[in-house]
């Protein structure tokens, strides 16, 4: 067996590695700190592989181009940060309703507005879920390390292709810019999923065939001439005013994610079996939490960590279970209170406390340890 390559990489570079491993062959983007290295990396690597890189005139054009490219059959990526995410929202809704696979990376920086471009933040958690008008499905993955950015980017493409929906990779500036040694997976080592291919004759093809929960998507130009619209549509892709069809389709695009939460939700549990105090954290904050939990254990406190790797859909089940048996849950996050409300919603019994920080500095293990001690 071939040797796996080891590399010292920055988080954003690992995202490039993950995207290419997953078979991404199209990138459209607009530079913005702290995500720009992804565009730079893709611009070097894609043309070598016969892939396409384009720097568009803004973030709206970028995601629109990526959606267009995906409709021709290419796995497509766009990456951005805060202000760019705001601009992409209308197109995110379009990709949700038209069911076009797509991966969006959002490297979180301080906001709102231009905010703190070089400062870490976790303040787009709600934007990742709700950021587009209308009810729409959301999948967001929240890696905490350089290695995990690679594997979660691969998983993001897999979920996008599997469910025909946009998937967001969501991490803070610290994880995006830190350098760690990582191991590049060998070809075939990680699962790579491609969208279901249309097998029927073109005359029988419906892009939203209602016999499927997720219908196969034929590429433009392959003889299946179909219509795509952001209007509510029937299974043949054409606009409709039929209230039954509108309802059924709006429900289906939500349920195709909701019904498969177990397949999508991924968590890491540390020292939770006998825990009395739990921490729920993601990204760089989870790294501080891991350290704090270790310190607490050393001091004889029964602490543990639940780390959602899938941020959306939120791991309701795991948090509910945890909330039913621990005394307290601490939710440190780099914002003024976002994930803490999700945790409160899921855990009716345990006392839930947030630790929030928006000064552009990370939450330290000491801050978390102090909160753990208070609940002892």
């Amino acid at each position: 067996m071939a040797e796996r390559k080891k590399k010292l990489l920055q988080g954003n570079d690992a995202c490039v590695e993950g995207a290419l491993y997953a078979g991404c062959r199209f990138y459209a983007g607009y530079p913005i700190t702290p995500s720009t290295e992804i565009a730079e990396g893709m611009s070097v690597r894609l043309p070598k592989l016969g892939g396409k890189f384009i720097q568009m005139e803004d973030e709206i054009a970028s995601i629109a181009a990526a959606i267009g490219a995906s409709l021709t059959g290419l796995k497509s990526l766009t990456a951005t940060s805060g202000p760019g995410l705001s601009l992409k929202q209308e197109c995110i809704g379009y990709a949700c309703l038209t069911e076009v696979p797509l991966v969006i990376v959002n490297v979180m920086r301080g906001g709102p507005s231009t905010g703190y471009p070089t400062g870490p933040s976790q303040s787009d958690l709600m934007a990742a879920k709700w950021g587009a008008h209308g009810d729409h499905p959301a999948i967001s993955l929240a890696p905490q390390s350089v290695q995990e950015i690679l594997t979660e980017t691969v998983r993001a493409f897999n979920l996008a292709e599997r469910f025909r929906t946009p998937v967001m990779v969501l991490y803070d500036e610290i994880v995006g810019h830190m350098r760690e040694p990582i191991t590049l997976p060998l070809p075939g080592e990680l699962e790579v999923i491609d969208r279901a291919k249309a097998a029927c004759r073109p005359e029988e093809y419906f892009p939203y065939d209602d016999r499927y929960e997720v219908a196969p998507l034929a590429p433009f130009g392959a003889g299946y001439r179909f219509h795509v619209t952001g209007l509510n549509h029937k299974q043949d892709g054409f606009p409709t005013n039929d209230s039954n069809i509108i309802r059924a389709n709006n429900e289906r695009i939500m349920n195709k994610i909701e019904n498969h939460k177990d397949e999508i939700c991924l968590n890491e549990a540390i020292d939770l079996d006998d825990a009395e105090i739990a921490v729920v954290a993601i990204g760089s904050t989870a790294r501080s939490a891991r350290y704090a939990v270790k310190e607490a254990r050393a001091a004889g406190i029964k602490a543990g960590l639940l780390r959602p790797i899938t941020m959306w859909p939120f791991p309701d089940k795991a948090v509910k279970e945890l909330g039913s048996r621990v005394k307290a849950i601490i939710v440190p996050e780099l914002n003024l209170g976002q994930m803490v409300h999700e945790v409160e919603r899921c855990s009716k019994k345990a006392q839930v406390t947030g630790i929030h920080r928006v000064d552009g500095e990370p939450i330290t293990p000491a801050q978390i340890l102090e909160a753990i001690r208070k609940h002892k």
């Binding site: 709206i60 054009a61 267009g68 197109c91 433009f220 001439r225 219509h227 952001g230």
Partner: protein, 287 residues
């Protein structure tokens, strides 16, 4: 009726064009009002496409949002009805990802030049191979007749009841300045001329922009006191334009306030997808 007239009529009879070859008949009737110019443009476009010889599978027609942007829903190609102003961005992704597709963008003056103005100039600048058909009716038809970036000064709209004070764009001048390698203008009134212009635009390699002046009788026509659709077309499309070939022979005062029709600009300029393949990919692979 004189004998000669009958002969003339006979000579003109040809096999009627089978529009159904390209339409999705079960998606009709269309949403357009009686007298709307968009349908005339569509017919000219289908005749033009027929002459190009491209197969239906090769063509990808993409639009934004607006009355004009409803066009792709009625035609049997690979079709996409996208977001207001963004048709060119989606189209750039489609074309760049699969350069074998022949991309035609159908857009309105509001779609292309207001909300989509930035994408318009950057598409022209890249000179990516696609044909952009801008249906210029000097209004936002879909939302009920507000003024648009091509509404002439002093015209009345639902948001310019006291007369428009914003000078309009000249779409063709802008396309040319931004770098489009083929720029032409037609009208719905001069439908045969339009067919030829659209044909040449589609056959051109690079960004080809065709500004098509067509009428919105429902809003622009009524608000500005035109008696009928034909009156509106006579004033705006027939008398308001001059074919560029005749323009040379006319004194300047006869050209004042008139738009030129026909091919206005054509240059050979490297096309975006080819540049990427020939320069970027080649260099990247050699490294």
């Amino acid at each position: 009726m004189s004998g000669t007239a009958v002969v003339e009529k006979k000579e003109r009879v040809s096999v009627p064009f089978d529009y159904n070859k390209y339409l999705r008949p079960n998606k009709l009737p269309h949403i357009w009002c009686p007298g709307c110019g968009h349908g005339i443009v569509l017919k000219a476009m289908l005749r033009a496409i027929d002459k190009t010889g491209f197969s239906k599978d090769e063509i990808c027609m993409i639009s934004g949002i607006g009355c004009s942007s409803r066009t792709p829903g009625y035609v049997d190609f690979n079709t996409m009805h996208t977001l207001h102003g963004r048709a060119l961005s989606f189209a750039t992704g489609v074309k760049f990802a699969n350069p074998r597709l022949k991309v035609i963008v159908v857009t309105g003056d509001g779609d292309a030049l207001a909300i989509g103005g930035n994408h318009f100039i950057h598409t022209c600048r890249r000179n990516i191979d696609m044909t952009v058909v801008v249906m210029t009716n000097a209004t936002y038809g879909m939302t009920g007749g507000q003024y648009s970036p091509t509404s002439p000064l002093e015209t009345v709209a639902t948001t310019s009841r006291y007369g428009n004070i914003e000078p309009p764009f000249d779409t063709c001048e802008m396309a040319k300045a931004a770098g489009a390698s083929f720029v032409a203008r037609g009208t719905a009134y001069h439908t045969l001329e339009l067919e030829k212009t659209l044909h040449d635009a589609i056959m051109h390699k690079g960004t080809s922009v065709v500004d098509v002046i067509d009428a919105c009788p429902t809003y622009f026509g009524r608000a500005n006191k035109f008696k009928s659709t034909t009156h509106l077309m006579d004033v705006v499309e027939k008398d308001g334009t001059v074919n560029v070939k005749q323009a040379d022979k006319l004194p300047p005062e006869k050209l004042e306030g008139k738009f030129l029709r026909g091919l206005l600009h054509k240059v050979d300029r490297p096309e975006y997808c080819e540049q990427y393949e020939n320069l970027v990919m080649e260099k990247a692979k050699a490294k």
